[in-house]
Amino acid sequence: MNLYLKLLSGSLRSRMQYKMNFLVSSLSYGLIMAVDFVLLAAILQRFDDVKGWNLYEVGLLYGISSVAITLYRVFGVEIHNFERYMVEGEFDSLLIRPVSPLSLLLTKNLDLSRIGGTAQGVIILVISIIGLSIDNFDRFLLLLYLPISIASGVVICFSLGLLTATLAFWTQRIKDFQTFTLYAPFNAANYPMNIYPGWLKIIFFTVIPVGFMNYTPILYLLDKGGSIWNLAWPPAVALVFLFLSLRFWYFGIRHYHSTGS
């Protein structure tokens, strides 16, 4: 842990050498995500709700999902860009260090420009929680549960990212898979799962379990259905999925062949 903090602060300091660039890029990244939400707000302003979910309720799902993926993008940047290690053959240099490759990758770099996206997600969450018409006790419960939901989301996202990165041991390039395993599912998780056709729902509750992170618990917390067990699902799914992805990662490393050049 001590080592982790030391490595992180190092990468933080190197980032802050370019303050202006950092500010502009995080602002623009936050802005992009905001435009997306403003468009959604424009639709819901006109049509009130999407299958029974009003703007603030969708905002809750949207906020959780975007905070989760952007936190992954901040901390998991080297996992996310893992194909570089395969294509440029840099992975060998990680294997000979005394620390596990995964911890090295996690501490090597932070992509702080994505913090703008996290901030924007938090702002949407705040607006939504204030705007919701529920009593204060429910609001309190919601606030209490929110960190669990977000943490589960980050873990699910990280696991998906790691699973995709592991594919690089065989396929070298993974950028095109990421659209499939990360961008599209997290975009879908911005909205309530009940709007999707059956086969998409099956995907989002099994192989790419993004539905669990926000839809399942919020359904119960907003009194839209489900039981108290809905609150247990997100952390449980996240942990199981993390375990599976780690297993796959170590399986991948064992099968890694260097380019040898």
């Binding site: 990244y29 424009a42 095109d176 975009n187």
Partner: protein
Amino acid sequence: MVYWILLQKSFMTNLQYKVAHLINNAASAIFGFVFIAIWAGVLQGKEQSSPYDVMDMTYYIAASQCILWLSGFLTAGLNIQTGVRNGAISFELARPSNFFLYVTSQEAGRLVYNFFFRSVPIGLVFALTVGFYVPQHFSSYLFICISVLLAIIISVNLHYLVGISACWTTEVAWAHFVNFTLLAGLGGQMVPIDFLPAPLSTLTQYLPFAGAIYYPVMIFLEKATNDVIWIQLFWAITLTLVNLWITERARQKLEIQGG
């Protein structure tokens, strides 16, 4: 003709990655399904208060997901910024060929590839699942071709503008982000611009972004008058002239620095 050869070569380069691209197409179709699901959910039971019904919006999203690969997802800055950073730009600008055509013809090759290996497969997926609109009037096909061509010219120029700005700023990542957001948001990728709130819905009709996505889609769906092509034409010409002028300024700036 050197630009024609550049176009062909860039087409061939892209051909090397077609398997990865086909996987990416599946993701692109899923994005489309998500947008369609949102619209179906929003419009359910409220179709009388909307100018478009669920089927209209399905066709709209399906068509816009296809055209995105021709006028939305272009190379960031058309890679001009790479040349600026490693200095190759000084040679490229000094060549006897036209720099603007040199860059854009390579992108054109990629877009021709995108048409066959991105737009068409994605369109087929939609056609087999949710349905794909087939224009009814024979004359529409002519106008669709013109409108899509102008959309490509507008978008290539917007991306060129981002790329050439690297001569002054060196870093274009954020400019590309902003450009793409405006293109997708104000261009009507997910929300037809007439659905936007009041002042914005009028204003965006006259911006170049609508010319890149919204107008060609609406002409394809036979929901817009063909007059909108004049707005597209205006932007295609204006942006091209602006870019030629800026390229000249960039060349002068380069000469001043001297190397």
